[in-house]
């Protein structure tokens, strides 16, 4: 499909999609800002062995 949409002219410059690069940079900055942190949401359960009924300490 992209062949049909590309137009009937050639560009002199090569256009690079930098979206991924920007996202990577942002991701790196965010990871830097939280140091060695791990995801942490749950404050009451300490261990869980996979049973449907969780272990609450």
């Amino acid at each position: 499909m992209s062949d049909f949409l590309k137009g009937n002219y050639d560009l002199d410059t090569i256009i690079q999609d930098d979206k991924e690069e920007v996202e990577d940079k942002f991701r790196e900055n965010v990871l830097n800002s939280i140091g060695g942190s791990m995801v942490f949401v749950e404050r009451k359960k300490m261990v869980w062995d996979g049973n449907d009924k969780s272990t609450e300490e």
Binding site: V30, I34, S37, F40, E42, M46, W48
Partner: protein, 331 residues
């Protein structure tokens, strides 16, 4: 402009958003290496029902707690974390257990001696900016090689409690070193809620899960208290803060905070100060450490647990925490 408490509150969401892809991916790619879980840990042989957890805060450099432990002939259990493991070995301490948790793809492997050290540290000053280990800072390549040799020599004597979310280079390195490995799953949310990330990962790896409190030091406490069921626990190296005379630029989140507020505007509003109840010294903290502090204090309160903090510095004090000197704990 964000306040200090706004930043602290946002850390959970940031961590969840940015780590979840990595941890789910790592949890699956590590399945082929998982031979034993923490369910298969042998019974503790120690008669003394107490433990010392060695976290990796700056007090390991400015205090003599490691040396005190090394010369104490302590008979209890010693639990280290990845960041303190080599420091323990250098002090003459072979820990019974070492925990590792962080999924970072290039930084964590350093704690076991990094075979790709130069490549992984390229354009990354996270450690060099903060490093209080002058020997390592000045001779990092030589020191890294020495750490590789040291870990290779001692790995077999310690049980590695390794999270299934660990990055591939850490897994490769610790297998090569010869650790006796026991796997676990970080409990990152309530497994009973709909679309739980913990439950999703469990369905792949079938590993028992432990809460982490957001960092490996607190995870080591959860492991010791709730998995090993040890009653009397002390921590050293759990500063969660910096000495007052340390420049802000040597702290972990300085680049991000200075970008957010402006280098010249950073002050004690962004780095709150606390007086340590044991030593009377002033320490300051940053949003990440403050978040860790809040998490472990909440967890201690929620589970009615007690902790001896023998760090002899830092900002960890409050309900259920007794700040005493390590020599007094070891008596």
């Amino acid at each position: 402009m964000q306040s200090f408490s706004d930043i602290v509150e946002s850390i959970s969401d940031i961590g969840l958003k940015w780590h979840q892809l990595d941890i789910v991916k790592n949890n699956i790619s590590n399945i082929k290496f998982i031979h034993k879980s923490i369910n298969e840990l042998p019974e503790l042989s120690r008669v003394n029902n107490s433990a010392v957890i060695v976290s990796a805060g700056p007090s390991l450099h400015y205090s003599d707690t490691l040396e005190t432990l090394a010369y104490s002939e302590y008979k209890g259990t010693i639990v280290a974390i990845d960041g303190s493991y080599v420091k323990c070995l250098k002090a003459g301490i072979v820990p019974d257990y070492v925990l590792t948790l962080d999924p970072h793809p290039t930084r964590l492997v350093r704690w076991f001696g990094d075979p790709d050290f130069e490549k992984n540290m390229e354009n990354d000053n996270y450690f060099s900016r903060q490093d209080l280990d002058i020997d390592f800072r000045d001779n990092s390549i030589k020191q890294n090689q020495e750490n590789i040799d040291l870990v290779n020599n001692y790995a077999k004597k310690t049980k590695l409690i390794i999270a299934s979310t660990s990055p591939s280079n850490v897994v490769k390195r610790v297998i090569e070193a010869g650790f006796d490995m026991y796997w676990w799953l970080p409990l990152v949310d309530d497994p009973d809620i709909k679309n739980s990330l913990t439950k999703k990962m469990y369905q792949s790896s079938k590993l028992p899960a432990m809460n982490t409190g957001g960092n490996v030091g607190t995870a080591a406490w959860v492991f010791t208290q709730f998995w090993l069921n040890i009653e009397k626990i002390a921590v050293i190296g759990m500063d969660l803060g910096y000495k007052k005379d340390l420049p802000y630029s040597m702290t972990q989140t300085y680049p991000e905070l200075s970008a957010m507020f402006g280098e010249d505007n950073l002050n004690s509003e962004h780095f709150p100060e606390f007086e340590n109840p044991l030593t009377g010294e002033i320490f300051y903290t940053d949003p990440t450490y403050f978040w860790y502090r809040k998490n472990i204090i909440d967890m201690l309160n929620n589970t009615d647990s007690n902790l001896f903090n023998c760090t002899e510095g830092g900002i960890l004090f409050g309900n259920n925490i007794k700040n005493i000197r390590l020599v007094d704990f070891l008596l």
